[in-house]
Symmetry: C2
Subunit: 354 residues, 2 copies
């Protein structure tokens, strides 16, 4: 059996409290006694106070949870998510706090259980599809959280760090529209929760449940509405999973049909890169001249010459964690909007004259 605080106390002949103080409040006892206690602990092989017991008594844990409502492995596959994590890690490091990555089972009941069982002092909820149930659980636990998307129905004291999704997406779409493109496909992850990969029809953008996706699609649509192309004329394509592979699969066949789109606006760089992959598979001779834009500006985007919308990744993570660990006194300061910028590269060009 591992020795407990009590064992050390007995060995030295002091009370349990004093041993506890030797570890947690060195100013509460003489240096000599503290020395004797730590020596005895070393000798007995006592590894220091049990973290769990300590957390229970103190009422906090010293770690924050990071929630991805998709496969945890996804978090490491999307470069943007990785950089977000890096930012969270940086802030956590500064606050001597650990990060708990909680994998969520696909079954909702199990997933709820996972969030209920996470031993953390708060959550960074990385914006993912349909996280409302997760927020419910977190609220019920009375834990603070920071989300990466503003929800329309959020109470004003709920903190978030995000970007103006709509305006950012608009900038990319306006660029493409300015190049003359009118037959355009919009590619996104989780347009509708359980829709299959490929083109689909949605009555209006407000039907899209996921707030981030909805925001970006709205921005795209706005820009094209201004040049007379309305929602119904845009081809909406679903790419469940947000991976290059999923994107490539989703746009397969898109360019074989009559009057194919001359541009694809993707909701993330990963998806956009997937489109480029799909195009690269065509023989150079009759490869369709398609303009492609992404979103995020991950490192790979620069290498691939992808036109995209840059948003600060590490900073998003860092601020999210900071808002959680060091909440601003003023509720309004808990709502952070980060700047974005359109980065024009080679993947977009004027619409070809046919």
């Amino acid at each position: 059996m591992k020795p407990t605080l009590q064992a050390v106390a007995d060995a030295v002949g002091v009370s349990r409290s004093t041993v506890s103080n030797a570890y947690s409040r060195p100013d509460q006892l003489s240096t000599s006694l503290r020395g004797r206690i730590l020596d005895a602990a070393r000798q007995l092989g006592y590894p220091g106070p049990n973290p769990t017991a300590r957390s229970l008594r103190r009422g906090f844990v010293g770690s924050i949870g990071v929630l991805f409502t998709s496969q945890l492995s996804y978090a490491f596959t999307d470069p943007f998510a990785v950089r977000f994590l890096a930012g969270v890690g940086e802030a956590a490091e500064r606050h001597s706090t650990s990060m708990l990555l909680v994998p969520l089972p696909t079954a909702v009941t199990d997933a709820r259980r996972a969030v209920e069982n996470a031993a953390v002092d708060g959550f960074c909820v990385y914006c993912v599809a349909d996280e409302e149930w997760a927020l419910d659980v977190i609220r019920a636990r009375g834990l603070p959280f920071v989300s990466t998307a503003r929800r329309d129905d959020a109470s004003p004291d709920e903190r978030y760090v995000g970007i103006d999704e709509r305006a950012a997406a608009y900038s990319a779409a306006a660029h493409v529209a300015g190049l003359g493109h009118r037959r355009v496909a919009l590619l996104a992850d989780s347009v509708l929760p359980d829709a299959p990969a490929g083109p689909l029809t949605v009555a209006g953008v407000e039907q899209v449940p996921h707030p981030t996706t909805r925001g970006r699609l709205s921005g795209f649509a706005d820009a094209f509405a201004e040049v007379g192309v309305d929602w119904a004329e845009l081809t909406l394509v679903n790419a469940p999973g947000n991976s290059r592979h999923a994107a490539a699969a989703a746009v397969a066949g898109l360019f074989d049909q009559p009057d194919p789109p001359t541009a694809v606006l993707a909701g993330s760089d990963v998806l956009a890169l997937g489109v480029l992959d799909a195009l690269a598979a065509w023989p150079t001779s009759d490869r369709p001249p398609v303009s492609v834009t992404g979103f995020d500006d991950v490192p790979e985007a620069a290498a691939a010459g992808l036109t995209t919308v840059r948003q600060p990744a590490e900073e998003k993570g860092r601020i999210a964690a900071e808002l959680l660990l060091d909440p601003p006194a003023n509720a309004a300061d808990g709502h952070v909007l980060l700047p974005t910028a359109l980065v024009v590269r080679d993947s977009t060009g004027p619409v070809p004259r046919s």
Copy 2:
């Protein structure tokens, strides 16, 4: 105040134990009573058993720690580390276990404290410099762990998953030696703990404390010994921090001196890519023709045409976590060596005739 188990018990008029059973052992009570209890809990806003209290009583936590004995942010900067994490995440997911990323302060006392305080059931120790103190703490806590490097002094029941570092490095060096290179630089992170960036002299490879680095350098040295180039003739270069930038800085000036090396063997792809960065900074006209090899085969290596040694990254992480979460009955099965392969690309070529 948040309601506790007791509150729910009082509301329904049953004992605390019964409420506990309603959550953790549904077979121990009638479905009807369980229904009443869960309803009452919902009504009171009871979020389910407190994870900390539960862990204390049960004696386990349901999460594993991942330890990087360098900045936590580093873990997200090195693509190999990210893929390792992805592997750990995958296994954790399968076992319904969370991952705790513990940032380690630079001061050793604080770092010990961090490991002592981590509420986990075990650790995956990602191979990093000088982790012996960390293993000591983990052993003292009586927690299981899996390391990514075999330590010579490890007891036979200590589990690890690694590669034959020496043989893997040998394969890269033999390739370079076969191309005729004889003036060669070996570039590594943490050759000696506190050495500055740049060339340094070490009496023999056995002086290098870090086991992984030592293994790789030995492999490099072996191959060159076979062609008559001995240790003292090899230029050893330190690049503290294992980043592209650190590598570029470390090799700055290396090619300006008389009889510069015609090849650089790096201990990781990140370092090798840094060398390529440094070379790319030269005007094309008088850029020195240097062969470069890496180690790991991260995705960027392929894009950069880097010759490197491939090792399975996700698999390493997955197996590490699996060994931890589902220990093999037979101690010998706790020692896993993964295959490696030399991947020859454009960054190596025959030594130029001068």
